[in-house]
């Protein structure tokens, strides 16, 4: 990590005075506007501090988010576009609503447009109409899930999108989306720079998996594990409702297991958590199935949570070739485990009852809970502050419980993951009692030997 990767680009300053509390009464609370030196340390350990002191190095730090005294954009002349991309995530409507309210009520901007169905909405050939967004129109949208703007996946032609921004005289574009969306936003920014336009591109990171690099927490994540929490409880009921009852719950988490991990910690009734960061064998003395069988013999029920990205090595070419059964059609780890558990325990003539639960879209399309709602509001408020001050090619993030502004490229180089040697995974092992590693010492033996 290098400090220079964490300075955010800016369109410059026009010395437009912020309309925010410029003339409070003398005895009013005063808010310290953000200054250039307001930065937050990446490493907040005492050891980190000491090391920097010794080496004389400047510690890595991130720009703090907040209102700026001088703006780049003049509210009366500013026109804003908003677009939501990728899969649904709780809080999308909260972000849209808060952007509109903040722009309108606090900065006095009334021309706010919504592009429909993601980046498609910025490409003329799709013919999706543009929606005018007013406080009245977004008044109650935070009460339900989804996105009123609609969404889509996939890239679109960057040049055409910037054409649209030019033609429509958009000054600020808010792109709400994940990894791919932010890459798109960055490409849009580069095209804007090439054309020497003064358009701010602001990213609002969306990942239900909470796996964006250098961002502590993303919106919708807490709602996701909150709902999963209930479902784990219900899975527990199913597991206890039968002799040797097994409940297998698949949760989101393509590259990281945060939802599975946090849900497990919140309900404390899970016996196995399987995540992408931790490989595991099915067979052999240290394999998962052996451990599961032992658990059933002792307690007669088990709750398993598997992240959708776990155990992908079972679907590697080579593994598939070696697999005795020969024909795995389903590369869904939930379905795969269901099959394998059934196969194994039937073969062993165990009396058991397996229930498979895949809540998927039920979680993605739920409304945000209160804490996520609050988070979405502040995220949107801070995105507006940064954009109005002329920041561009940026995302709003958060670190050590404070809001930050980061360059888009810094957040899309890699994904955040659970550290198998870290505190969170340790907590999981304390909470589940599962073996610290379910891999046979002599190497991966995930394939059943005949």
């Amino acid at each position: 990590m290098k400090q220079e990767d964490f300075y955010v680009k800016t369109l410059g300053s026009n010395n437009v005075k912020s309309p925010l509390l410029q003339t409070p009464r003398a005895d009013s609370p005063t808010y310290r506007f953000i200054t250039e030196t307001d930065r937050i340390l990446y490493d907040n350990s005492l050891d980190g501090h000491k090391k920097c002191k010794e080496t004389g190095e400047e510690p890595i730090s991130f720009e703090k988010a907040g209102p700026h005294d001088n703006l780049f954009f003049e509210p009366a002349k500013t026109k804003v576009g908003i677009v939501t991309c990728g899969g649904l995530c709780p809080g999308l409507n909260n972000v849209i609503r808060s952007l509109v309210n903040q722009l309108n009520y606090r900065y006095g901007i009334s021309r706010i447009l919504g592009f429909q169905y993601g980046y498609e909405g910025m490409i003329s050939k799709y013919n999706h109409s543009v929606v005018e967004l007013t406080p009245k129109m977004v008044d109650t949208i935070h009460l339900f899930g989804g996105t009123i703007l609609g969404s889509s996946r996939g890239d679109q032609d960057v040049s055409q999108m910037v054409d649209t921004l030019e033609i429509m005289n958009i000054n600020i574009l808010f792109c709400i989306g994940g990894d791919g969306t932010l890459r798109g936003a960055h490409a849009i920014h580069e095209e804007i720079e090439k054309r020497k336009l003064k358009i701010s591109v602001a990213g609002i990171p969306k990942t239900i998996d909470n796996d964006i690099n250098l961002i502590e927490k993303s919106f919708g994540f807490e709602t996701a594990f909150t709902i999963a929490n209930d479902f784990i409880r219900f899975a527990h009921n199913e597991a206890q409702g039968a002799y040797n009852g097994i409940a297998l719950l698949k949760l989101m988490g393509r590259d990281s297991g945060f939802i599975a991990a946090y849900a497990t910690l919140s309900i404390q009734e899970v016996n196995y958590v399987l995540i992408p960061e931790m490989k595991f064998d099915l067979y052999g003395p240290y394999g998962f199935l052996k451990s599961l069988q032992k658990r059933l013999e002792e307690r007669h029920h088990a709750v398993i949570v598997v992240a959708e990205g776990a155990g992908q090595h079972f679907f590697d070419e080579e593994t598939l070739k070696k697999d005795a059964s020969g024909n795995i059609k389903n590369k869904d780890i939930g379905m795969y485990l269901k099959e394998k558990i059934n196969e194994e325990f039937k073969a062993k003539d165990l009396s058991f009852s397996l229930k498979y639960i895949d809540p998927s879209y039920i979680i993605r399309s739920a409304p945000a809970n209160a804490n996520d709602s609050k988070f979405c509001s502040l995220l949107a408020q801070n995105a507006v502050h940064a954009a109005m001050a002329g920041r561009t090619d940026f995302v709003v993030g958060n670190w050590s419980d404070q809001f930050t502004v980061l360059p888009i490229p810094a957040t899309i180089t890699k994904r955040k993951k659970i550290d198998p040697n870290g505190e969170l995974w340790w907590n999981i092992m304390e909470a589940t009692g599962q073996p610290s590693r379910m891999v046979n010492p002599e190497g991966f033996e995930s394939i059943k030997k005949e």
Copy 2:
């Protein structure tokens, strides 16, 4: 229907005085105990009344449930068994808790045993221990779903079960379960009668599908469609979240579509309801896919609810033979529709996005909502009243919003279904706007023609 099928068997009367409010003060409210003539009309229409008056026939009526003045069982000497069978259903723990509390607090019975894991628990070879049930033990179980007794499916040897009752000196057996369980309870009763024992067998009907004959409403059903209601809303979010978004939600309902229907009426955001009672074609001018395509062209999103038992004719031998694609492996209607919609609209090069949601066990294992909880309490209270009065081979039911006592055989001859010519289906059509029938006139044409 014949009236003689609706007289409930009784073990006789021992003239044991009910301990319930026998010595209230003169000015206390007095409760009229149930009398022999307390019966509820099956048909409560004026036309029905007139017809009976004309013909002189006695109208069909059901025994009203409630406390009896004279009991068959002496509380101090009575020992009770409780067993829960079949799949989970919201309210099982409420029923168990209310049985225990009613027996203990109102009738003074302290010897209450729970058989574990369904009828298996009454068969010695399974070695499931028996649980003693006390008010303290069941104090908070109504707060969560599942059954603390565990459950299992399938028949067990009737003779062995009655042996167990004899050996353990059980006087009353409460069997909580569906169709199969009630058949089992009836068989137990017949074996008891054969042995000339004085054991009451009480059925408490459990069907999340609400499809037991002559019983207006079964516990857990309202909770089921209440949860489904939320999921339909979320499905709606998914459908609107994409261009030509289709959300397909599979709900319970093997033989009847009540959950799908009631959930649809409660949220009023469903565009198609597919139930077992209404055959439909996929292809052809009147088929479902044509109608769905039209809907997308007009409104650009659609929410479909399908009951698990709908469209089973697609899996008939003959149909499967005729099917062009030749190889349907999945006899799950939800998965089948998902495949067929994808196939058809991809072939037509439509831009669309299909999300499939199957909440299954999430609904079955949830705790009962308030109204179901109240219903479970009264159901259990009335089951205890009837059993203590010596009724046997009976179920507690309800009709015209009143609790009834019915002979088990009367309720298991056939299933309750939605009448395609009745009010409920009409309401569905008003709520969805779907075509009144999606079948091609020239006969079923459910198979794609090449």
Copy 3:
């Protein structure tokens, strides 16, 4: 009760064909439109049937609700008004939404107006604007509580209101409200009749207390006791959280105790239910405080639910005069009980902890639950059917789980109450274990003797 009081007035028939399924395909499900003889028995007991058979009397019956083949109003020329009056109740927005959707989608009526802030909205001097209601506008309003039209209490000048209807060419007026509102609707109808106008006045009964005469269940009531259910659980936590903990929860119920009773039956953790229908003494050997003290000595905690209309005799002139303390300012029974319990147990030097909970508006302003939502939809659909068929001065009700149409006057003559000698109250006593009557034999002794 006389049968003639249950015939609903009608504006006549214009032989307009209903647009509902008039030309289904021959093989479609057919719906039997409502006929003149479709009536539901008031008394559905076998005894009732026999009595009528013996005496030859026609039994009391109510008109069944449903679609009519012949309409009075021609959809293309029909203009509709909607008004909501009185306090908030869960489901108001569901009713508004379903009226609009049913009128628009099923009958093809596009001119639907909402009067704002209750009957005030029909009086010009208040200057409240009129709102045009479209399916789009009401699309998501069922997701939150309250009423988008606003409401107000109190009567308005009937003549002016009918002037408004005339000036605006309203053909049907839907009045959603309680007792007072229905009286108002009836007065409007009488004025309309006097002026020989052809305007239908349709009442949709709203009472969170579920106390409208001859109507089995009113919308919002189930939601109310569902929420109360949670609060009772929380009250139970408070009661158990302290030594001799007492939790006192005030619920709605001005004239009847249905909410208190149903909430109690649903959660089964209440020890005392105090309702308007059952007088009780505070002091003396049979008084409430004595019983409460005994309960604390035995169990060390108690949960009390009191309906707002209970114990009003404590506030009678004479009683107040006799009261030792002389100065009761608060005629709120919840606050009164709180004071009296505190006073009594402090005087007795008991160690105890009393928590008082008054959720009031939290319940009234909540959104409707799923079952109430379904109920609201069907209620609104049936109100539209009846109005379109020319019925007037009517309310939609329900009886024996079927929808009915009743003349307004029949429902406002008296209130529905809990029968102290009936089944419901008996169930309450079984659920709480409270004394059957807490009144001292020698007469009311509600005042503390010095």
Copy 4:
């Protein structure tokens, strides 16, 4: 702040090896046990870092929580006591359950006792029995609110409490409670030290108001504002449900307004937030009532949230004397505002409708939400780690999203408050649009002038 105030006391080390993952397989994930230098910076700003670098001062830091390699207590010989004090707070049962599970399953301690009804349970004269706590006993208690141990307020004799610990051979005492409880725990520690006993006293800070010094977040707080969020929405329904509707919601917050502030940010439908940290006038040109009136004239409805500790200056002796009306009996700010608003607007002959909502215990006795549940689990796990390692006179806290261990005295010297010049209050002003200060320039003028 001085660093020496942040070193936690320890009973020493007995070099007992932690049973946690001592012999993982070579290829297992390894957890780095906590070392002496694991500390977290109090100030994580870059400016703070630079300043320390310049001055050479060591920055303030807190001990990081986590498992220790060497324990002080030998699990087989360790006996633990748990006590919960003060008012209810969501999460109490989660903390109890996690303490029991962590002690039992992870450290192998089976002798765990619960003192009942707070510190009273440690005093023999109260005669409260002691409860043995096992994993089975606490299995489902996290599903409901309250505390299974009961609670009480107030101090008890410290010497007698330590006598109890000695007599019962308790080695670790977990005290779960607020300010007063922690003072008590500190006093117990001092008595223990005086007696030269080796007993660890561990504090688990409980404050629904989230106002404990140097602790970022306390359990139950998020649940509290989550529930408040719903109630604000309902208040909004009430406000919009009437012409010039005012909904006034009182929330918790005796010394700080965090619940009011966070709830407001989460739902974004509040127009005024009144908190203890911000004085306000009622009357005069800048007073609250003037602003409220203006809001009604413009928007015709208003939602007000008031923390219970706001506006206490209205109840000062001097203020009360000056008050025109002369006789304020109620020192409850909610009731006070209700009276004053009614008084003022009635005097001005405004048409308005005021609804007052005080949810109080409904919030305190609710179960913890998922995020709070997770937090409670980790808090308890970390409390056990620290106590087993011999730390004493400590609380577990958290800072910058990491768990910390702090000396009790450091946390009870003052309360955490909202900074009127800080970011949170600024966010509130952005969210509500309320005036930055509602005080008349010439000084407090909270009393109505005649």
